[in-house]
Subunit: 239 residues, 4 copies
DNA sequence: GATGAATGAGTCTTCATTCAT
DNA sequence: TATGAATGAAGACTCATTCAT
């Protein structure tokens, strides 16, 4: 039934009992999280029962409640872990874009970020799939909406950095950017279709095009008007 | 003499009652659908109980099951009604785009379609909100995925009409287009923020820009390279 | 859907509307009874819904309650009709046995009665099957038990006619006789296996043998001690 | 050093708890079965609600479904337990009859078996009563019919052991034997009337008489033709 | 009288959570 | 601390019966 978890053991070889117990705690919690991710991913939140999780994790029902307050608890634990990571990555990417020496460098940064992001999505597809439809969970809709709004605002702010523009328009643009990326992610998870590299390149070109189109009416975005970004893309990843 | 319809009369006596009854049926079913839309919209599928629906519709529990097989039944009834309508509208819009005399006309058609679409979304926000997170419902995820795929394929095909291009790329573009629109819709429903008109214009400009950016690498899309579509937009809806 | 009921029409050709209405009442009630018999027979009482009955009878739900008080009502109506008939037949048979000129004649009477009884069972198998498990119906158990007790008592009395014997023993004998017949009936209905004629002959021989065995310890039953009854059987129905 | 069973301990810690838990399980399941038998016996299957069972067993609703799949589940569990036991007893009895030294011994064996059987019926009257009308339960009719057919075939085979006879006749005889016994059982349960001893003796005499009557037409059954079996009965249990 | 839409009490069944061992 | 048996509130669905048309 149980396969020996060689890797896990190799990383921390218990010398003291106390140490082992702490490890066991972590391992148990890890098993629960892993099980939950897989099950939420495959069947969604509501069709996954706590019993399914504990069965897969090979622990008892009671144990679950030693590690998580309730079913929602494990869901938000998963969500938190992921979103913290992604928020941080996005923040770093934005920072690098702002600090980019020239426009082509900024584009390359963006492509890089997107490609890494899509790679994470593919690597941890179950995790990402598990968190889709977060709206299903009580308070989850508001939580998800809040998270998204934060991201939208950050992105809108970045888009507006080049000059004062209509805030609402910038927000809508930010939403479209995120929506476009979101759909690629969705397809990636469900059909594995656009590879992270393809997706990153397509998305960058598409989104840059879209944003340029918007900004061309504004003289201040002249730096986007040339084709430098397109050449940047072509240099980076010649098809 | 035998009256050949003696039996027939015994079984169903078609008086005016029949008409009235039919009306009553429709009204009851309508009330149920309306109640379900509002409740699904407000609380989501799972937190809406059949009893809530029947209470709001002012009918008894049993009546619900006269019109729908089960709770999922009413959900899919709602989904079907909506998606049929939207699919048809999208089909008509695509047709008109193809038949457009020149490119500016095509753009105007698209703006029109999007604006109408967004207006429908705003008008029937609860309905659209009710159907978000369809993945929650059993089989709903597959159903939603299938619907979306059909739309993606149709759009990809249209995008590819201008010349032979990589199918996967076209699909990804189509996804991005839909994702961008989807997010606007989402924001519209949740915060009422971009008005249908604004959303339509922004989306058209953004998406055209994005698509143009993609296609500029292909010489056959030269007709998109000029600024006619931008002028079309400006004529149509000067900001 | 509806096949013209040529026979029914042939028997009573309606000349006046009033007459027709009375007839329609009867026909409707008949259709309900017929449908109920078939459905109870096939699926049993509990798995048959009033709606099934009215659907099969091609009447509306409300109509059902014009003819029967409730679901039990139609069941007991069926039971009553059948049991009245059978009770009467059994009474007549007992009478004829008592009046039989000699023992062989009595045996022949009994064979006749049993054969007729089994023929009725085969002819109206659904009806008989419908009434098995009467105990299922509220009050049905007591009703069925009461009916059976009456039959047992009558039979026991007849068995005891030849001389004073232990009442309890006679009742037990009567039960065994009825149980044996009952099982043949059951098999007949479910598998169609013993033909009425075979069943009647086998049963008579078996039961006479059993009763004789009982009574041989009593000198007064000497008339059964010889083989006349067996010869009677052989004359009647040589295998 | 690695403790190879570290993981194993984590998942199931076999202390004395395990034993106690198992006991608790058994006790709970037993209480449910006992309650169900009493209630089915008293009110029949349909008028017994799962809630009645759990209330009487002093457990919660959920506990019921830990032990049985559904309401039918507990019914068939009861039926299975009983029928397995009875089938085995019947098999042993048949075996002993076949191995009996002489005919009187065989008869004595049969009387013994029947008396034990009737004693079991009286002792566990609720259980037996609970299972009457098995036809009520979905699939129960077929199940009951199948069980009965097996018994009929086994008995028919035994009856036919003395020489080749018509299979259908033997089956019908077997049915009559079982029907006769069945009715005694029924009366015993409902009115407590024939005592197991009386019933066994009466039944043996009656059935032997009936079977003899059938077989006397077959010369091969000569050993049944004398009165040895009757003397055997008289020796065994002089009235 | 007939129709069939509407009723609503009744039941089974589920599953997140607790707690004795 | 882990276990898993027990809990019980909650919710979906049924179906005999009524009643407006």
């Amino acid at each position: 039934m149980r396969q020996p978890d060689a890797d896990a053991d190799a990383t921390h070889r218990p010398t003291r009992t106390r140490h082992t117990q702490a490890e066991r705690r972590d391992r148990t919690k890890g098993r629960l999280l892993e099980a939950a991710v897989l099950l939420f991913s495959e069947h969604g939140y509501h069709r996954t029962q706590v019993m399914d999780i504990v069965n897969r994790a090979r622990v008892s029902a009671g144990t679950f409640y030693r590690y998580f307050d309730d079913k929602q608890g494990i869901f938000f634990a998963i969500a938190e872990e992921l979103s913290c990571h992604e928020v941080e990555e996005a923040r770093k990417a934005r920072q690098m874009v702002l600090e980019a020496a020239d426009f082509p460098a900024a584009v390359r940064t963006m492509v890089h970020y997107l490609e890494r992001h899509f790679e994470r999505v593919v690597d941890r597809a179950p995790l990402y799939r598990a968190l889709m439809n977060s709206g299903v969970v009580d308070r989850g809709r508001d939580h998800a909406w809040a998270m998204k709004e934060k991201a939208v605002c950050a992105l809108a702010e970045q888009l507006g950095a080049a000059g004062p523009r209509d805030t609402d328009d910038l927000q809508s643009l930010a939403r479209m950017v995120m929506g476009a990326i979101s759909e690629l992610r969705y397809a990636m998870i469900h059909s594995g279709k656009p590879s992270p590299a393809d997706a990153a390149r397509l998305a960058t070109r598409f989104l840059q095009g879209g944003l340029t189109a918007y900004s061309t009416r504004a003289p201040r975005y002249t730096e986007l008007h040339d084709d430098s970004w397109r050449r940047a893309l072509d240099d980076e990843a010649p098809v």
